[in-house]
Symmetry: C2
């Protein structure tokens, strides 16, 4: 198990980026590998200059990568150990992280206590879990659904594992606000309207946004069309101080490092359990220093939440945990039966947002209306605003141009893009197969077609919706236009749309909201 | 999602062994990485010369590993694609493997059908699952316990995914036998006695053995002290033809490739669910061509199976699946209250085995007796042997020296070691804290102390048991001796033994078997 003390190696930085997984590289003929019987993918403990990290072992046959007296570390592992190249280092079989016993109990179906969850999350945040252990935690907590207290303790543990911002100097006892959507609705870029509106009202809104992982665009991807979004943590803080808001990406890893790591496992498994969703969202908001949060929970047959009772259960879970953590939460259940706005994909969504901010006559009404409603709820966190006045105040700010002005200030602070690209040039129109009324639009299908067209990797790719629920269409009339940059992408998207375009045309009126 | 067609790269073999995980290496400045927005750890599909593999992406910053027009593959991925270096290759975002939908249904708690399991196991065997997906499958099938038919279908799928041996030419319609223990009992090296005995009786026994992963020694580690064990598949087959038996390692990956991959995830998670155990054991036996199997299920408070009802349930599950697959199974529930024999660790266990084969007067009686019992059960698969006669025949073979002779033939065929090493020189004796009778021995504790002492990586390290259940001891009398090669290892083992040595001394007689 342990290595003889003579096995000292020279530390070497290996120029391989293994994302959040620490990898150690040892040559097959390294004496330590031979003596200790290491196998590839074994978990090892690396020590250098009093610092210790855990890593997964890759065995190397090429002395140009590491030679027999070197111990190589992947980019992030090297940064994490924080010791110079050439320094003496030792390697040994890793003892399992301290919280593994608690993980095994969760796999066996037991409830975990506050200390168990704190230990697990601390080990995850310190990169002591392998991908396999992370996946086991995610699946086990998904299957034996976490009870309310477990979710509370998980959230607390995730906050405790990272940095926490404090805006007391900026706001005194006033609210620090945020707005968040649980996701799943294409085109739903209300944050890019709510942030400038509430910042223009004078509220502090340290919004962190994410890039798309399974959707055709995240707020960060869309904002990236207009401004620099990958900003260092300290820069984000300075921008919020200056403009009262920001729409950037980055820094979130420092706010809730365990969440960032867990998401890298949850996404490929398509796991999005209520407990994990609540802990993930609330831990980031609280770590960012927010005291008041408006939460958007869209409900619809192809949304994340499929029914009103399910939405109510999720709302109550959010409320329970938020109240225990002194976060004022206003959860709004919204209509998630179809995409919001017209564009799906970064460039097309940025166009919609700017049309609303510019009060363009043909700006998408549903995006405008939903943003005003949510901004109104945020503004009502202001103790000087009377209940019911928020939406009117938000509309005044938007119509007066003050929201656009604030958005421009945020864009300039983050770093304005020199030009705003047009939608991708190759197009394909998907048309109605019959006369009638649009009776249903499948969010998931639209998202998949937009991704196949290239979004978000190709920002100008995506879908432009020409018809929405309740619109009357004639057979052969275009329902939406697919934009792509590469012919192959357009071909894939077209093939998928031909199998099922995601629209259902009925003969009557669209059904009422869920 | 898809890469523009111009993105052709040059295939390069990267001398990094990532075990069963395919890794692709792309330079950060490679145009494909930039255009397609690949991130480290993304799953990619690599195509070259009409062949396709899935791999996990590592992004490289060092042109000596791969330059910007190269596509690197780790050792096993390179072997798997089977195309020469320098050949043109393309890379694209991977579509999820076809069985992922079934995996998601299992995560959500559904029962899976025969086709689902066959698709999952085929994808696993083809290395299309990431570690994360493998862990999700293992945890999900552990938590929603598989029903009997799911276990049957899982076993069938695991057989179908690999090679299958046929010994019809060697045995005609006669039995092809094997003996297997579900594990968990230190020192339990009966296979090394059963194989030469039944081979000397003339039966064909194509035994595959494994190395220890969590225990202080596997049969392959112990046999490694006496002979070469890492033999290519075709060599194993030839040895079995020549000597009617073998005690080697290797080739198992070809017999049940999915099992090999699943075990690499189950072991670190300490998951050993009944369904996975049954499918793993029976698939390997049937793929190796066995028609008759004696299965050893030890029961005891620190064994894998803790109670008689649990043992009976496991036995019935094994019997159900074996009968559907036309494997004759004789499951024997044995006494698992303590280690078998005296030695724990490869060299010490090999010594015990050879003492029994050599009919040494001080050979461990419990190991001899258990091996004769199990060999007798195997021999009774011989249609010419009367029920009840097997153990007598086995004893005759052992006492006449024919078992030793056969063992020597097997050792010579595999490749005899030039010398048999003595136990490691550094020792520490653990003594009784009181007068009395040995009332309990903790298998898990003994195994852990032996591993800290260095077993199995240091073959001569381990534990020599001087007292067993029911033995009378005086205060201060040695219970067992720890052997280590390195002072640090001895220190770790001693510290663990001081906290709890794994022995309980009572004042009466040892309790009856469970």
């Amino acid at each position: 198990m342990t290595t003889p003390p003579s096995s000292t190696l020279r530390l070497r930085r290996v120029g391989i980026d293994t994302f959040r997984e620490n990898v150690a590289y040892l040559h097959r003929d390294c004496p330590v590998v031979r003596a200790a019987g290491f196998q590839a993918l074994a978990k090892v403990q690396v020590q250098a200059d009093g610092r210790t990290i855990l890593a997964v072992l890759n065995v190397v046959d090429d002395a140009r990568i590491v030679d027999t007296v070197e111990l190589g570390l992947s980019e992030e592992a090297f940064a994490r150990i924080g010791v110079a190249e050439g320094h003496a280092a030792t390697v040994a079989h890793a003892e399992p992280p301290g919280s593994i016993a608690a993980l095994h109990r969760k796999i066996a179906g037991e409830r975990l206590g506050r200390d168990d969850l704190r230990a697990i999350i601390a080990d995850i945040a310190q990169a002591r879990y392998s991908k396999v252990e992370l996946a086991a935690f995610v699946v086990a907590t998904n299957q034996f659904e976490l009870d309310r207290d477990e979710v509370l303790h998980l959230t607390e543990a995730m906050i405790a594992a990272g940095r926490r911002l404090d805006w007391h100097r900026e706001v005194g006892g006033g609210p620090v606000v945020d707005k968040h959507c649980i996701g799943g609705i294409p085109g739903n870029r209300t944050s890019m309207l709510v942030v400038p509106i509430v910042a223009a009202h004078g509220m502090l809104c340290p919004k962190t946004s994410s890039r798309a992982i399974t959707s055709p665009a995240g707020t960060a991807d869309t904002m990236d069309v207009l401004a620099e979004v990958a900003l260092p943590f300290e820069r984000l803080v300075a921008i919020v101080r200056e403009t009262r808001g920001c729409l950037a990406w980055g820094g979130t890893a420092e706010l809730s490092p365990a969440d960032d790591i867990l998401i890298s496992v949850e996404r490929p498994l398509a796991i999005d359990s209520p407990g994990q969703m609540v802990a993930s969202i609330l831990s980031k908001k609280i770590a960012a220093g927010s005291t008041h949060l408006v939460l958007d929970i869209p409900v619809g047959p192809t949304a994340k939440v499929r029914s009103m009772p399910e939405a109510q259960r999720l709302k109550r879970l959010f409320e329970h945990v938020a109240s225990r953590l002194n976060l004022h939460l206003d959860a709004v259940i919204t209509d998630g039966r179809q995409p919001i706005g017209r564009g799906v994909g970064p460039v097309l969504e940025a166009r919609d947002v700017m049309q609303v901010l510019e009060n363009a006559p043909d700006a998408p009404a549903d995006l405008r209306q939903k943003a005003l409603r949510l901004a109104g709820r945020v503004i009502e966190f202001d103790p000087d605003v009377r209940g019911g006045d928020g939406e009117r105040i938000a509309r005044d700010i938007l119509e007066s141009g003050r929201a656009l002005e604030r958005m421009n200030a945020i864009i300039d602070a983050q770093g304005r893009r020199s030009e705003r690209p047009p939608p991708a040039p190759l197009t394909h129109e998907v048309v109605a197969g019959a006369d009638g009324v649009v009776a249903a639009i499948d969010n998931l299908r639209i998202a998949r077609i937009a991704r196949l067209a290239g979004a978000p990797q190709v920002p100008a790719a995506g879908i432009d919706l020409l018809k929405k629920l309740g619109d009357r269409v004639a057979r052969g009339e275009p329902l939406y236009r697919v934009h792509a940059h590469y012919p192959a992408d357009l071909g894939f998207a077209r093939t998928l749309a031909q199998a099922d375009g995601g629209y259902r045309i009925g003969d009557g009126v669209a059904p009422a909201p869920a």
